[in-house]
């Protein structure tokens, strides 16, 4: 069986799909800038009026860099397929995958990577620019090991976020109208992941508690690996924990889908 060829085709269709609506594609890129801009103005105002050099242990330069990096990473790992999957479940589109010798999970994952490929490329180019700019401004100390680990954790974050979203999607088997549920969960996941602002804002105890959840390992952790906020030892530890969460959510999503699919086949789609 030639699975490699199949998944190459799925990947390439994902890429083509993301480019099919060109205006939508570029608007998506521009859209990613707005939250970053809004936050830039808020933080600038906050730091000017506080009269302090550092808030929540972040200097002005660091917080702006965090905001930009977190905004980019959020955009990169955003899944956006929840509605498609919910629609497949509700309107029977899932049937066409059930009758073919292909795994829906594998298909969705590879198609997701395909749809993200161009975003990934553009994000990498932007990151190179930002890192160069921040380094020359003295906000960031570039270390090769951190760059490498950042690249690795970013892939981990992409995979982990996919798996979390895929688990949440299984709820579409049980809830009939789900669009608002997805809006809430994705917003909540984004905030808990540190996509809006650094988790320190919530206070030490919340940061500690969140360390035991998978969320910080999608945005907060990769960004801090790059920015140097995470200690060297904590970086490797964090990488291990991220891998742990990926394995756990992989198993959880397979289980949730296995159970739900049984129900789907029993009651019809």
């Amino acid at each position: 069986m030639n699975r490699r060829k199949l998944y190459t085709a799925v990947f390439s269709m994902g890429v083509q799909h993301s480019m099919e609506y060109r205006v939508h594609f570029f608007l998506g890129l521009i859209g990613a800038m707005f939250p970053i801009l809004v936050q830039y103005f808020i933080w600038t105002a906050v730091y000017q009026h506080s009269g302090q050099d550092a808030l929540f242990s972040y200097s002005y330069g660091q917080i702006i860099m965090y905001t930009i990096l977190a905004g980019l990473v959020s955009k990169l790992i955003a899944t956006q397929f929840e509605h498609q999957i919910a629609d497949d479940i509700k309107n029977g589109g899932l049937n066409k995958y059930l009758i073919k010798p292909i795994s829906y999970f594998g298909y969705r994952l590879i198609s997701f990577f395909g749809q993200k490929a161009i975003y990934y490329g553009i994000t990498v180019m932007l990151l190179v620019g930002i890192i160069w700019f921040a380094a020359s401004g003295g906000v960031l100390k570039v270390e090769a090991v951190r760059l490498v680990l950042f690249a690795i954790t970013l892939w981990g974050a992409l995979l982990l976020n996919f798996l979390i979203a895929y688990c949440i999607c299984a709820s579409a088997f049980y809830l009939h109208e789900i669009s608002y549920f997805f809006v809430i969960t994705s917003l909540l996941v984004n905030i808990l992941s540190g996509g809006m602002f650094p988790l320190e804002i919530f206070g030490d105890s919340v940061v500690k508690a969140l360390q035991y959840t998978p969320f910080p390992y999608t945005i907060y952790f990769p960004v801090n690996v790059l920015s140097g906020k995470t200690e060297v030892a904590a970086m490797y530890q964090g990488l291990l924990i991220q891998c742990g969460w990926i394995v756990l959510f992989f198993l959880l999503s397979r289980f949730a889908w296995h159970v739900s699919m049984k129900k789907y086949s029993a009651v019809g789609g």
Partner: protein, 327 residues
């Protein structure tokens, strides 16, 4: 061995009913009464290799549910089925390679990409050899006259063109078994004809087994020697399409055309008046009275033209449905 063997297949669904209005919506929010619908009740049949079988029944009869069980999308509540040596709902990959299902009302192609992309994806999914793929694609698209349209996004195609693409995508791996759920629904007559001719060719050329549901009698008449009719989940008839008429005491239809006006009620004693006005009347009567009535009518009315016909097949099938729901 039989190709498809179905024994006492049974499927029940749980559903909820909601009365009209806000009050009932609120009531449903807190307490819903679960109702059970028996979509398929104890259906059994066998289909041999290469057969083309029409699967008829009114809306909601259980046709699609049966097809879904036979393709492994749904588990039955009880009963057995064996398709090509596999139990469909075990969903073995080896089984999935042997069949295809085309649903006229569901789209299986990628909406935003050209059909050729979806067809190529199917080639990869079913692991079709490059040469075989190229030949099949050329042959199928030529037969359906859509070579020019392969590179157009699916969303820009007309319904008929899309259906033809669906067929190509479903057949690119040369399945031995093809389920078709209303493949000609909503198509114009030339497209319907083309699709029918194509299916006939595929059935004959590759010896593929076809199970077809349709509400267009022409589809079934042209393609299928054998018909299975179900209603309300029960099997009503399994046999040749044209023998359905025999079930109804061999009724006959006489059409009469008069040269001058005739009062309709004068004909009532000869048989059931199906339709008519003062110049034209259609009578339905048992076959054994045919000779006697013909003679009497010819003698006593100013007839310019007359024909004797079988009851239309649609009519017989409707009678079959009614018979079931009444008794």
């Amino acid at each position: 061995m039989d190709f498809i063997r179905v024994r006492e297949l049974h499927k029940t669904f749980v559903y909820y009913r909601k009365g009209a209005g806000l009050k009932n919506s609120l009531k449903n929010l807190f307490a819903r009464k679960a109702l059970v619908k028996e979509a398929v009740k104890s259906v059994s049949f066998d289909i041999g290799p290469g057969e083309c079988v029409g699967f008829l029944g009114p809306n909601g009869a259980g046709k699609t549910t049966t097809l879904k069980m036979l393709s492994g999308i749904l588990y039955p509540t009880s009963g057995e089925a064996n398709v090509l040596g596999y139990v469909p709902w075990e969903r073995k990959n080896e089984f999935k390679r042997l069949f295809s299902i085309v649903m006229g009302q569901k789209n299986q192609l990628w909406w935003d990409l050209p059909a050729s992309e979806s067809i190529y994806l199917n080639k990869c999914i079913y692991d079709v050899d490059d040469d075989v793929y190229r030949r099949s694609l050329a042959e199928l698209s030529e037969m359906l006259e859509v070579e020019e349209l392969l590179d157009v996004q699916v969303r820009r195609l007309s319904l008929g063109e899309r259906m033809k693409m669906e067929l190509i995508a479903a057949l690119i791996h040369r399945p031995r078994l093809l389920y078709l759920d209303e493949p000609t629904i909503g198509l114009d007559f030339p497209s319907q004809k083309k699709v029918r001719e194509f299916l006939k060719y595929y059935n004959e050329q590759f010896g593929a087994t076809i199970l077809l549901t349709s509400h267009y009698m022409k589809d079934v008449e042209d393609l299928c020697k054998r018909t299975i009719i179900i209603n309300e989940g029960n099997l009503l008839y399994d046999g040749e399409l044209h023998k359905i008429n025999d079930l109804f005491n061999e009724q006959k239809i006489i059409r009469l055309h008069f040269s001058e006006p005739v009062a309709e009620q004068r004909l009532a004693k000869f048989g059931k008046i199906v339709s008519g006005d003062e110049y034209n009347v259609v009578l339905e009567l048992p076959k054994h009275r045919l000779k006697e009535v013909s003679r009497a009518v010819l003698d006593s009315f100013p007839i310019v033209d007359w024909t004797i016909e079988d009851v239309p097949i649609e009519e017989s099938i409707s009678m079959l449905y009614r018979k079931e729901s009444v008794g």
